[in-house]
């Protein structure tokens, strides 16, 4: 482990380092046939940081997330999490754009999916209810997912991701399918559980406003390379329409639009 990095992390917040993981990419390349999607990516994410990855469609941001979640393997290069280059799949949880709940299982059973094989029986149920309480849905444990609204389903998906206390949470456009008001609520909820748990969060989005509202740091991917690495050093909770945030947003949008 990188000593200087650990020191700075200890200085800032002990609680955060206790649950988040450091992520480090070295020369990560991913190619599908002749098409190279990621070009030798080098990246260090300290424990507990919220990193937003923005970019146009096809810039490789979703591919990067799939590599981190262990759904794909890099063509070349290494990904290390807390210094380990393998065996970390269970410490990463992925949230998709769609809730992807099993419609034939109750809300609580869906949350328990996040526990994969760990505890059995009553413990599973208790942990699932705990996670549901965190997202404010403890009363709906026995219901079918079909009766929930889109925002509620996504909250169940968040509970499913949280239930195993992951050290890294990867979000793939998690708010993309929600209406404007539900998005704001969901953003606040994600921010709140992050402050509570201190996991490392990687949020893929094409909504720059959302990136600025949530992230400590924004990476702009362009054609498989990091084109911009912006630190968002604004106090939380962030106010909507803050001029400093708007300035950062403007810079990123200019770069995205090639102005």
């Amino acid at each position: 482990m990188n000593v200087s990095l650990l020191d700075t992390a200890l200085d800032t917040d002990l609680r955060v380092t206790s649950t988040g993981s450091t992520v480090s990419l070295r020369g990560v390349t991913k190619a599908f046939g002749a098409q190279t999607v990621l070009h030798g990516l080098d990246l260090d994410i300290p424990a507990g940081q919220v990193v937003a990855i923005v970019g146009r469609s096809g810039c490789g941001k979703s591919t990067l997330l799939r590599l981190l979640a262990g759904l794909d393997r890099p063509t070349a290069g290494t990904i290390t999490i807390d210094g380990a280059s393998s065996g970390w799949k269970d410490s990463v949880r992925l949230m998709f754009q769609e809730p992807r709940l099993l419609p034939w299982q109750s809300v609580a059973a869906n949350v328990a999916v996040g526990l994969s094989h760990a505890p059995r029986g009553a413990d599973r149920q208790r942990l699932a209810i705990e996670a549901l309480t965190q997202v404010g849905l403890s009363g709906r444990a026995k219901e079918w997912p079909a009766v929930l609204s889109g925002g509620q389903k996504q909250r169940v998906a968040l509970a499913r991701a949280l239930v195993s206390h992951p050290r890294i949470l990867a979000f793939d456009e998690p708010l993309g399918a929600l209406d404007a008001l539900t998005r704001i609520e969901m953003q606040a909820l994600i921010e709140q559980v992050w402050e509570d748990k201190g996991f490392t969060a990687i949020v893929v989005t094409h909504d720059v406003t959302e990136a600025v509202a949530l992230a400590d740091r924004i990476l702009l991917l362009d054609a498989g390379r990091v084109a911009m690495d912006v630190t968002v050093d604004l106090p939380r909770p962030r106010r909507r329409g803050d001029p400093e945030a708007a300035a950062i947003e403007g810079r990123i949008l200019d770069r995205l639009l090639g102005r």
């Binding site: 979640a69 262990g70 759904l71 799949k89 269970d90 949880r93 992925l94 998709f96 769609e98 992807r100 099993l102 419609p103 034939w104 299982q105 999916v113 996040g114 994969s116 094989h117 079918w144 997912p145 079909a146 009766v147 499913r160």
Partner: protein
Amino acid sequence: MKRALPWIVPALILLLWQVASGFGLIADQVMPAPTAVAEAFWRVARSGELLQDIEISTWRAFAGFAVGGGIGFALGMLNGLSGLSEKLTDSTLQMLRNIPHLALIPLVILWFGIGEEAKLFLVALGVFFPIYVNTLHGVRSVDRQLLEMGRAYGMSEGAIFWRVVFPGALPSIFVGLRYGLGIMWLTLIVAETISASSGIGYMAMNAREFMMVDVVVVSILIYAALGKLADSVARWLERTCLSWNPVYAEA
């Protein structure tokens, strides 16, 4: 009142039929009156003949269904999950599917004679295809996104099958099941009518020889009742197993 509404028309038909028979408008040799059919039912039921025939027919139907449905389900699952297996067998099965199974009756009699095997074989063959086709379709139409979620959340292959693939394919499997049950009775009726020495079809053909039209009508009604009963049980199972699905929950 609302519950009674669908029964008004059948009751009227029954009444009309009774009255027409009573006035001799319908000859007894063509169609006996409802009361005469009820009497015939009572007669064969009391002699124990009816129960025995229902028993043997039901056994044939479900034994054939278990064999054909079991193989169809297993192959449908296998071909849905394994590309190799599907490439190997699916086109052959689709070709065989176009042969009407009842067209095989002469061949089946040559192979098995008129024993139990012939009827079981025909029922199994008839039931096989709807179950196979619908199971395969069900497995193929399982949501890819859910499969990916299962893998991302570290589910084992077994857990993915039992918690994602099988429940996802279940609505389609039930379509196959209900369709297969219909074919099961149809095949059995034909097989028993052509060649049998017991069962409801035999009862009907036997009664025909002695011009007992009332018993023939009883046999037909028994077939209808058994078919309806099997379908009702399947629908109840469907509603119970698929209660998560709003489409079935409301029914």
